[in-house]
């Protein structure tokens, strides 16, 4: 049955990159036991994030029921057919977790639901690819990047306008333009202002992320001097967060290091990563930002001395609107769009971003941008 399932999925998704991994009983190491292509993917068997992803999916599929019709499955598979990496879920919990994975990219809740249902349904006689209607993925004029940008802008405008008005009403109050408030009134209005500003920032970040997902617009593509972009990002990050004595140290800033890209998008991505590092740092902590030239590009590594990311959260830190539910961190969480934006921006530039917990404590975020 498993071979049948793998071949079927490979046909439907038009990829040979369908693998079977086995998680050992202790949950500490992964083994690739089958692949459609016959090749074993290059992966770290003890990769913390991959293990966390597998453990999470193992827990989820165990409770999933067979309720959905084939339509959501077909749509989901049609969407995934465009991707190089398709995360698929646990099949058999009693042996410790059997997962079909093509990359530890992390999976949204919706993807979990749809894929787990598809696997359970496909456990029976497998339909051939010709029986399924895969949505036409050829872009139409309607879906051109420009048209999508325009629709996205209008949507954001509609969402932001009422919030902008609320912020202005509150600002009029707190600045005493219509009379002075007492201290308690001022405090409450300030708190309301903070909430509104966070929502507005979230919408702006989301818009920027959507833009990045559509690719870099040609008119915005040019040489980006990374030293200047990082300095600007640090300055912008400082203006948005209470520093509490946290030191930000920039290293390896060669003034000649440039990459081709969108300066505004890259600076925004850097700002979010540095902002998070400062925010989660202890008082008087140290955040280091190191720029390293490599043969194929440039790596930027941001390290902090904060609490790091819980293992169970690692696969999701780059998801839209994800934030930690840890009660101890609730005063630091915000819109949950910063890292997802950073990922979209780096991906649009042909690069990547990864996080890992440091053995000495804190988080390390590495970003890579290709360059000649």
């Amino acid at each position: 049955m498993l071979d049948h399932l793998l071949q079927g999925l490979s046909q439907i998704l038009s990829t040979k990159r369908v693998y079977v991994f086995l998680l050992d009983a202790e949950g500490e190491e992964l083994f690739c036991v089958k692949s459609v292509s016959g090749e074993v993917p290059d992966f770290d068997s003890r990769d913390e994030r991959l293990l966390s992803f597998v453990l999470h999916t193992s827990r989820r599929v165990g409770t999933k029921t067979l309720e959905a019709s084939a339509e959501p499955l077909i749509r989901a598979l049609g969407e995934y057919a465009r991707l190089d990496y398709i995360p698929i879920l646990n099949l058999n919990r009693p042996i410790g977790g059997l997962v079909l994975v093509d990359g530890p990219a992390g999976t949204s809740e919706r993807e979990f639901d749809l894929i787990s249902l598809s696997l359970t349904q496909l456990g029976g006689p497998l339909r051939s690819a010709t029986d399924l209607q895969i949505p036409n993925s050829a872009p139409s004029e309607k879906d051109s990047a420009q048209a999508i940008r325009k629709r996205t802008l209008f949507l954001v405008h509609q969402l932001k306008s009422p919030l902008a008005a609320v912020q202005q009403l509150l600002t009029v109050l707190v600045e005493g333009i219509v009379g002075e408030l007492n201290e308690k009134q001022k405090e409450l209005v300030q708190r309301a202002l903070t909430r509104v500003r966070t929502q507005l920032d979230m919408l702006s970040d989301w818009l920027m992320g959507e833009y990045a997902s559509l690719g870099i617009a040609e008119e915005h593509l040019g040489p980006v001097v990374l030293k200047a972009a990082l300095k600007e990002a640090v300055k912008a990050a400082r203006s948005k967060v209470k520093m509490r004595g946290v030191q930000v140290v920039l290293q390896g800033l060669d003034p000649d290091t440039t990459v081709q890209g969108d300066k505004e998008l890259l600076t925004s991505a850097f700002r979010h990563v540095i902002h998070n590092a400062i925010k989660f740092s202890p008082d008087s902590g140290l955040v280091s930002v190191v720029l390293q030239r490599e043969p194929k590009g440039v790596r930027i590594v941001v390290k902090d001395q904060g609490p790091g990311v819980a293992l169970k959260d690692l696969p999701f830190v780059f998801d839209d609107f994800f934030y930690s539910k840890d009660p101890a961190l609730q005063d630091k969480v915000d819109s949950g769009t910063g890292l997802s934006l950073a990922k979209k921006v780096l991906k649009a530039h042909g690069g990547w971003i990864k996080v890992r917990n440091r053995s000495e404590g804190g988080l390390e975020t590495a970003m890579f941008i290709p360059a000649d």
Binding site: A165, V166, Q168, T171, V172, V178
Partner: protein, 126 residues
């Protein structure tokens, strides 16, 4: 003589808060809530400056700016476009190529200090 400013936006709260601030600064403020009313108000008030929302119910802000500038007595009127979409790049992406009839753009929500600074710069006043 007081500086005359026309504020055009279909959001009543936005109009009121901006008017409250501008009144407190000593400007003479008139208001309108759509493009057609904005044109009528401009014809009556001959403003020195218009603060115009980009997206109005009956026209976009750049069209209104062009219409006002084409009226007798308003040829020198400055126009500051307000938008919740983002900065100039966002506006250009939304409106596409076309005549840029605004003197400046500002993102909503408006920062009152920046608004005052922009007004002073556009009108060359201290």
């Amino acid at each position: 003589m007081a500086v005359r400013i026309l504020v055009v936006d279909d959001d009543y709260d936005m109009v009121e808060t901006v008017k409250l601030f501008l009144d407190a600064q000593g400007f003479e403020v008139t208001t309108a809530y759509d493009g057609e009313s904005g044109i009528v108000s401009a014809a009556t008030a001959a403003p020195d400056l218009c603060l115009v929302d980009l997206v109005l119910p009956d026209m976009d802000g750049r069209e209104l700016a062009k219409a006002i500038r084409g009226m007798a007595g308003c040829e020198q009127t400055r126009v500051l476009l307000l938008t919740a979409m983002g900065g100039r790049q966002a506006v250009e992406a939304y409106l596409g190529d076309g005549e840029d009839s605004a003197d400046a753009y500002m993102e909503k929500p408006v920062n009152f200090k920046e608004l005052k600074s922009s007004i002073e710069k556009l009108l060359n006043i201290a």
